[in-house]
Amino acid sequence: MKEDYLWDKSGNDPEIEKLENALKAFRQKDTTPPVVPAKTSTIEEKRNNPWGFFRLGFASFACFALAIISLGVFQFTQNETQSIAKIDLKKSVIEPVTKKNDYIKQDTISKEIFTEEKQNKPTVVKATFKPTKKKKRKIINRKKVAKKSTHKTAIRKKVKTNLPEQKVEISELTAEEKYAYNQLMKALAITSSKLKIVKDKVQGLDNKPVGKSLR
């Protein structure tokens, strides 16, 4: 079988044998291996390499630094959000305060109005209790008894409370009420001005010429 000899050298094929013999001259003659470096960098050597340790150290340091930076950034962003939240809260707190200020202003206005009214109106007289001579004596006697007794302070307190130094004051309006009052006053002012205009027109005191109005 010719093909078998060509494939696995089984049997005989003179043609191919002749070619083989002719081409034997080109076979590799020198079978000595090349001179290679004494050591190769194996995996184990790489592990023992100091540069490898340095790399590991550098990598770990880089990781640590990165972690710190990321933590810092995270905290910074959180603080920012918290500060924003605080500001918001403050705003939410401040807003009613400003309203309160408005109310205070309004209070002052209303107080002014009240003072004007007070000036116009008769002032409220403070009702003071003036004890008579008999009652004065009674009180003095009570005081003497109290001095003698051990419960001085309690009696004194009672005496103080019994003292009729009550002041009758005008109850203050609440902020809302004052605001409403203010608005009402404004509305009244507007209506009064309008009424005045109407009144002037009716009475013929308007500045417009009469001829035009006739037209």
């Binding site: 696995d8 043609e15 070619l19 190769t40 960098s41 194996t42």
Partner: protein, 196 residues
Amino acid sequence: MSESGIIQNIFFPARRKKQLASSPAKEKPKEEAMLVERVCAGDRSAFEEFYKKLSPMVHGIILARVPRDEVDDIVQEVFITAYEKLNTLRDKNAVSPWIARIARNRAVEFYRRNKPTVELSENLSHNGNAKNEANEILDTIKELPEAYRETLILRLVEGMTGPEIAEQTGLKHESVRVNLHRGMKMLRKKLGIEVH
């Protein structure tokens, strides 16, 4: 066993037996891997063994591509490169196809670095010599397509069998067989009368 193996056993038992006989044993790649590990560990005797085993194949691959004078130097370069980069090889069982690829790449690099040269025929000095005949045959083989050229040189010059060529170059048995058959046919045609 793979599905194709089972089918072959059932329908073509004779062919399967023949293939098993011709194919390299499964233990061989393991031996090769052990040899590679020894070389990696710095065993010089292992490297010598490695060189003796694979140098014919490398020589044949380079001889098929570059001028004869340059072949020995390039073979040495290929083995030095392989020795340096042997640690990077993932599959230690596939060392011979890997080194064959290095040899092919190195042959291509040779033509990149150097300008193409024309070899002077030895017929000028010695007419009718046996060496001249050998040169003629080799030149004729070099004129063949690359696939046929390489397998024919490995078979006829280096004296390797078909299964050995398949094992070391990483080619399939069938393709090596086809390359040998068709290459031989073309060579006979080209040599014609002289071979007879």
